[in-house]
Amino acid sequence: MGDQAATGTKTPGSGPSGSSRGARTMRAKARPADRIFKGLSTGSAASIMVILAGVALFLIIQAVPAIFADWQNNPDLNTGPTGGYASFWTYVGPLIWGTLFASAIALVIGAPIAIGIALFISHYAPRRLAGILGYLVDLLAAVPSIVFGLWGIIVIRPFLLPLSDWLNTYLGWIPLFGGQVSTTGSTILAGAVVLAVMILPIITSISREIFLQTPRLHEEAALALGATKWEMIKLAVFPYGRSGVISATLLGLGRALGETMAIALIISPAILVSVRMLTEGENSQTIAANIALNFPIATTLQREALIGTGLLLFVISLAVNMLARVIASRAGAGTKRKRQKINAQLPPSDPSTVLAVDDVLARKAAKSHAEGADDEEPEIDKEEREGKDA
């Protein structure tokens, strides 16, 4: 009876039948607040789907008129920034090339350095300093892209001029370095160097977390066999972290593909397919920078054409990101316990990298739970010791 009274006062509207059922099945009753809250959170989750569908839908709606327009005879499209192209595809083709080319150069410059930094922080730097050094690299991610763009204009452009001259003089027979070398420095190389700086933190922080996850026993086994530190890293750290590093690199590529301001500010572009990196007028323009430069001066239909190029950029970066996650999901072994410990020690300083690390590690953990690789070894040790004692 007392029970009934208690539940009754808590949920006045439910009546005696509700309380007796609660007593029988011992189940917490769903109060109105409960139901509303569950509805709210489920609704928010559903809104994510709506938003993403909206992004794709509205881009398509706006882009379709320009994609299927007659580019040669349309008075809007055959003048201004979109003038002189037979169709949407001949317009966007060189832009796609430029986007991929600039990102590829940035990746070639940035990825090895980023992996080196990750290795330095995870395995070479003194333990006490590692956290601070990692935070310093993460600070690079906090600098707004526009600031990097301005920095590129007044620092990187003149800085690269002597290098450009040297490369052009001595290696000019390679198409990459050929052509009339730029005197202002507004080259795709300068843009790519700034892009490389921008993708450093994302590749570094993911690779670092992966390197730190290497099973301690693997490392110690390699060292015990007389390996030097570098051989230990080749034997134990790299094989373990390979898929994570590849997916980190791809996420860096995804970032570089969509980066706008550094390219728009630094290079003096032309819409053409060119492999030359050091020239003034033969820098392939990227999709993002092209949109940023032409959007304010474009007419309605030209804007729709630019939105069409943006749609293609969306598709490309989506493909790269999904590829990165597929590769990450094939990662090797690791333990969930370790991951939680590390996360508890270091609050994530850059939320956008947390997700990728989390992704890689969660899948690793799921896989290793099935294998039970790292957990069992100490137990075997213990049993052996006990056997000897007895």
């Binding site: 917490a28 090895p112 526009i146 969509g258 430069l293 943006g310 969306f314 970066s317 939680q340």
Partner: protein
């Protein structure tokens, strides 16, 4: 019986220690570094000195010298090891160079244009009737207000959606459920959206609703929210998963409802991490240029109404100051740098708040 202790023979003279022979002395790296610094300085003094060249040449000489020294005294494996150690360290120092250089450049160029008037005035042209001269007045007040309004609305939209979605994923959804898996996947996909595409989306959306001249601050907020929601979801999800399951179970065992468990137990435990994540997400989107430029365009006029007309923001001010300068190019560039410095200061403040919050509100107890 026969095991007698024979008088050990004292070694005559110094004998090489087997443990340290065939090895370079302990601080050899520092000696080599000092040597290569001096050598490259001497070489460059003959040709013409500059700091960058000096450091690069030093690194090259250092790596070569250490490699040769080690492969002569020690062996090839150890030489490789030492060279790699050097390379990795160089890579790290190489990453610090742009960070330091960027900050120095921004401060050096921006400090000149930042003063009280720059912060509190709007840009405008003032016509002086006596001298018949038009003087341009440089100010960033409209951009500061615009940045705060646009980012504020974006945060108001994305923080509730982000936190509630994270709560759905952690507290309500079953891991195998199709909706949970889809939402997780879509959040991943959303983090990959290039910022300029978010701007195009907001512009498309509003030009379908409002018409061709659809620039407004609210539109830019929508674009920023698209970029911010996935960041908030993932950092909150991470923090909610760190809350021990024991706490939830203890609460359920006392008969507390799910709603009360989440709001009274789970969220307070994770609040420090959530606030940190939200602050860092705001710091991330406050510096976005491309989406705001697409959706809110740019203007020199003061406009505090997010639903009508173009709105100026700090990053866009920095961009347009350089790319589309006014008649006085030097003044435009100076104000661009001033805006960039203000932006960096804002980002630093947000980061510091995030750090302080993480420290102060960290859950007390065993952790």
């Amino acid at each position: 019986m026969s095991a007698t202790i024979s008088p050990s023979r004292q070694p005559s003279g110094r004998v090489a220690n087997a443990l340290t022979s065939g090895q370079l002395p302990r601080f050899v790296e520092w000696y080599v570094l000092g040597g290569s610094l001096a050598l490259s300085a001497a070489l460059l003094l003959l040709m013409g000195f500059n700091i960058a060249g000096w450091l690069v040449l030093t690194a090259v000489i250092y790596l070569l010298a250490l490699g040769i020294l080690s492969s002569v005294v020690e062996n090839r494996r150890k030489a490789t090891d030492r060279v790699i150690r050097g390379l990795v360290t160089v890579a790290f120092l190489l990453a610090l160079a742009p960070l330091i250089s960027t900050l120095i450049t921004v401060v050096a160029n921006g400090i000149g244009s930042i003063n009280w008037n720059f912060i509190t005035q709007t840009s405008s042209s003032v016509f002086n009737a006596d001298t018949l001269e038009v003087t341009t007045q440089v100010g960033a007040w409209q951009a500061i207000v615009g940045t705060l309004i646009i980012t504020g609305i974006a945060a108001l939209i994305s923080i509730p959606i982000g936190i509630l979605t994270a709560i759905y994923l952690v507290e309500y959804a079953q891991p195998k459920q199709w909706m949970a898996r889809t939402v997780t996947f879509l959040v991943d996909v959303m983090t990959g959206i290039p910022s300029i595409v978010a701007g195009l989306f907001a512009f498309s959306l509003f030009s379908l609703i409002v018409g061709p001249k659809a620039f407004s601050g609210f539109s830019a907020s929508i674009a920023l929210a698209v970029l911010m929601i996935p960041i908030v979801v993932r950092s909150c999800e991470e923090m909610l998963r760190l809350v021990p399951g024991d706490l939830r179970e203890a609460s359920y065992a006392l008969g507390v409802s799910k709603f009360s468990t989440i709001t009274k137990i789970v969220l307070p435990t994770a609040i420090a991490g959530i606030v940190t994540g939200v602050m860092l997400a705001i710091a991330r989107v406050i510096g976005e240029t491309a989406p705001i430029f697409m959706a809110a365009s740019f203007t020199d006029n003061f406009n505090a109404n997010p639903f009508d007309g173009p709105m100026q923001t700090l990053p866009v001010m920095a961009y347009t100051g350089y790319k589309f300068p006014g008649q006085d190019i030097a003044a435009s560039n100076a104000s661009a740098w001033g805006a960039a410095l203000l932006l960096v200061i804002l980002v630093v403040i947000l980061n510091l708040i995030a750090r302080v919050v993480a420290k102060v509100f960290a859950p007390k107890g065993s952790r």
